[in-house]
Point group: C2
DNA sequence: CTTTATAATTAAGCGATCTTAATTATTAAA
DNA sequence: TTTAATAATTAAGATCGCTTAATTATAAAG
């Protein structure tokens, strides 16, 4: 059990609400784009990891490197990632998200956000300011921790 | 293009950060639990929809009712949902999340939250209060819109 | 009462996505 | 330089999750 800190319990409650509102639509969108769970995991992973090898990626996804390699074939074919040789160690491949891959991620995240407009409509200008300011604070801090 | 409202742009930026931090771990956890994308979508859907029929669920997931029915077999077998006859119309099945199903969802969401501790450590008590209060405001408002 | 419509399931088949095992290419070690 | 280790890929086969089509059960309409 985590501590009964009001920060954590509120955060947890908010995440629950956020996920419940967002995930259905996100999954729906992913399926329609023809992206599997592994592919989505890969796009997210490459986005905040800059670059990584095939085996490492597979481990993170919980599949074999063979499976990762095959899935990467499809992502390359879709133009969502770029796979190139690592000049430091030519056995290794460097994987990076392409602009198109980045946009595919963005689109998926935008797909879930209809309900935020609804939320916004119930808020006064001061309330929006308060929330915006709190989020900016979190954004600033979270950028420092990695 | 959505309006260049600072509320929306900040919210969007925050979602991006949140998703990138959370989704990899969430997907990893889902795979290890043996849950498919449809299963996860179903658990989320049933959690905030109370109850719904098989065909409706399939439509929401973007699959046929046959596929939904087969997937529900597995979820029932895993004890994550309960499937029972609707007394009002005995052709229809009522689907509800079991306690175990609810806990599986909770677990998945908890799996992603390690980084929140890190974020918390960078915040002063007043900063936490500010964020907690803004989130409570959103929670209160969002509960009114559905 | 008979016919039609609807909800869910079952069955058969197909393609996607895994797995293991073998292969190729490169690097590190003996 | 030969041998061993590592990274990625390829190939073959198994399994999963989907589709369509047929089936069963119930409800609504004629």
């Amino acid at each position: 059990m985590p501590p009964a800190d009001p920060f954590f319990s509120t955060f947890h409650e908010w995440i629950e609400i956020f996920m419940h509102r967002s995930m259905c639509r996100f999954i729906h969108h992913a399926r329609q784009s023809g992206l599997s769970m592994s592919m989505i995991g890969t796009l997210f992973h490459l986005h905040h990891k800059e670059s990584m090898g095939v085996t490492d990626l597979g481990e993170h996804l919980g599949v074999t490197s063979a499976a990762a390699s095959q899935m990467l074939d499809r992502l390359v074919q879709l133009g969502l990632i770029q796979r190139s040789e690592d000049p430091e160690d030519r056995r290794v491949k460097i994987l990076v998200l392409t602009e198109k891959g980045f946009q595919a991620l963005e689109e998926g995240m935008r797909a879930q956000q209809g309900w935020i407009k609804e939320l916004s409509d119930t808020l006064s200008a001061e309330e929006k300011d308060k929330i915006t300011s709190a989020m900016n604070l979190m954004i600033e801090k979270v950028n420092q921790i990695s």
